[in-house]
Symmetry: C2
Subunit: 330 residues, 2 copies
């Protein structure tokens, strides 16, 4: 059994998003809590800038939840940089416990699962879950120096410069709460194209989503929205097709954070990607719709490609994973 049923309504009592200049000009511009015009966030390097960005998201979420920093028992964070330094150095700026997590771009939903379990089980009182990604730090770590000006193939996506964080707490009236979660398995269909993340991750999304529907005895039509993390335009189409083959129609209520965040033009090709894509879009947009009761029941499923530059250099295909949480208003 991979699906968890929470009994005590762990509530999302605050959320905050921080994005860079490109995201601040996209279709969700009115929803982001903090929009920076300088993508170094006033720091000397992009990496230090990303640390500031995640730290601002964590602090913003805590403030937004009306908790004091001392009331937060732990932050549960991850990011795409080697040794998740963005998360560790952000946590260094806080006086809370720290659990570092990593499942690539599915890290945000992973952190929500662990956070909800720690709250629902009565182990902790308040946790803050967050992730980030940054176009310029990811580009130079995973691909080429920015100065190189490499050309991207049409199946590529654009790493979101963004961070999102939210505070989970024991049940509070009038806040969306997390009712179920499915821990994903590693799925690998043998794709080796490091530019085609959508194709790599869609099968993992299908695996987790079908497992969830079976184990929860629910159907796609039970949910207002089925939100994926960063499958992009192509990956989303693959997911819809794969789900249809399995007998589930998600064509009318599936949206992808990577498609929502940009007015997709030439540069972004298939849309946004990165560990900060799902977290910034969820915290900015989906969470606000839930709080305003415009959505009642939502699946958030972030997918992740579990590769490294070294695994690809050694000829490996790209294993993927998808973790899922259900958020509800009653």
């Amino acid at each position: 059994m991979n699906t968890i049923f929470f009994k005590n309504k762990p509530s999302v009592i605050g959320a905050y998003s921080v994005v860079g200049p490109k995201e601040a000009e996209g279709p969700l511009k009115d929803y982001f809590d903090k929009k920076e015009t300088d993508d170094t966030f006033g720091e000397k390097t992009f990496e230090k800038g990303e640390i500031q960005m995640l730290y601002k998201a964590l602090r913003g979420a805590i403030k937004n939840s009306k908790k004091r920093e001392e009331e937060i028992d732990a932050v549960i964070c991850g990011d795409l940089l080697n040794q998740i330094i963005v998360s560790s150095f952000s946590a260094r700026l806080l006086k809370t416990g720290f659990l570092g997590v990593y499942n690539a771009c599915s890290t945000f939903s992973e952190s929500l699962i662990i956070g909800s379990a720690l709250i629902d089980g009565g182990f902790l009182n308040n946790v803050t879950c967050g992730t980030s990604s940054h176009f310029s730090t990811a580009e130079r770590q995973y691909r080429y120096p920015l100065e190189f000006g490499s050309i991207r193939p049409p199946q590529a996506q654009w790493t979101v410069t963004g961070a999102g964080a939210c505070v989970i707490s024991s049940h509070k009236e009038n806040f969306p709460y997390i009712t179920m979660a499915t821990i994903g398995k590693v799925v690998d269909y043998g794709v080796k194209d490091v530019y085609n993340m959508g194709a790599c991750m869609a099968p993992a999304g299908m695996d987790t989503l079908t497992t969830f529907f079976k184990e929860s005895n629910t159907n796609p039509s039970d949910y207002d929205l089925i939100v994926s993390g960063d499958l992009g335009a192509f990956g989303s189409r693959v997911l819809k097709d794969l789900m249809k083959e399995k007998g589930y129609d998600i064509s009318t209520n599936h949206v992808d954070c990577g498609e929502l965040i940009y007015a997709i033009a030439e540069d972004e090709y298939q849309g946004g990607s990165g560990a900060g894509c799902s977290s910034s879009v969820f915290c900015a947009y989906i969470y606000k719709l839930l709080k305003a009761k415009k959505l009642k029941k939502v699946i958030l499923m972030a997918t992740g490609a579990l590769l490294s530059t070294l695994s690809s250099q050694q000829g490996e295909s790209i294993p993927s994973i998808a973790h899922l949480v259900v958020l509800e208003n009653v």
Copy 2:
């Protein structure tokens, strides 16, 4: 509050350790479950070898626990390679859920905390927690190519080629169980010497240990052993001194996995290190002593240095963390 009290006695019902040739000749040689004479584990690269090593540890622990792979709901793993590919690719070989975690060399105790919470809260039935490290993969990722033959300073440690994994399950009679845990905070005393991990991590160990004694209302003398992960000889001395300053005497019952694993000669300087140091020594040695009732109550606290090569190149000091679990027999 950073300390968790488990109510339902999550039990460690199986454990397994795999080590390389150097560790197989050390003082704990009679305790390791699997000793390899070839540190590539029959693979073409050290990284693929490390994946085999962790996979063997995970599978060995599951077999040792008398569970079938299908009965394991999730593996919770981490390692030192970029994007924790050892864990992801090991999990690809299993049919279970996967939660990737990373807190450097404190990842093993972090995974035990998350695993215990998922079991104790009744969310899952069986989880497998594991970590690994490999001298040759860590050396070329973090320091120099092996062929370079770099000379190490005397404060250096030697990355353990080893993996350890254990299965946590809901309460079973006659197995050691996890009763308490403390989630560590990030602590940074400003040390920048990437060779002196002991000095970086000891303050984090002190912080977590004193927090735990205060919040659990216990004392060092309540425990048969206080086991640290890989502080090494120098770091252990620093921890003992720091604890004494805080009014706690751990001089008679503190041991360090990094000191236990090697007959420390010139090469290893301060002893073993790495995310696989605490897990292989715990699963091979401490767990067997607990099962044989030779130990009654043990603190396992693995410490981690949260740096990357990039954070050090950008002039940052080294933040550290320590997570702690208490294992008991009754």
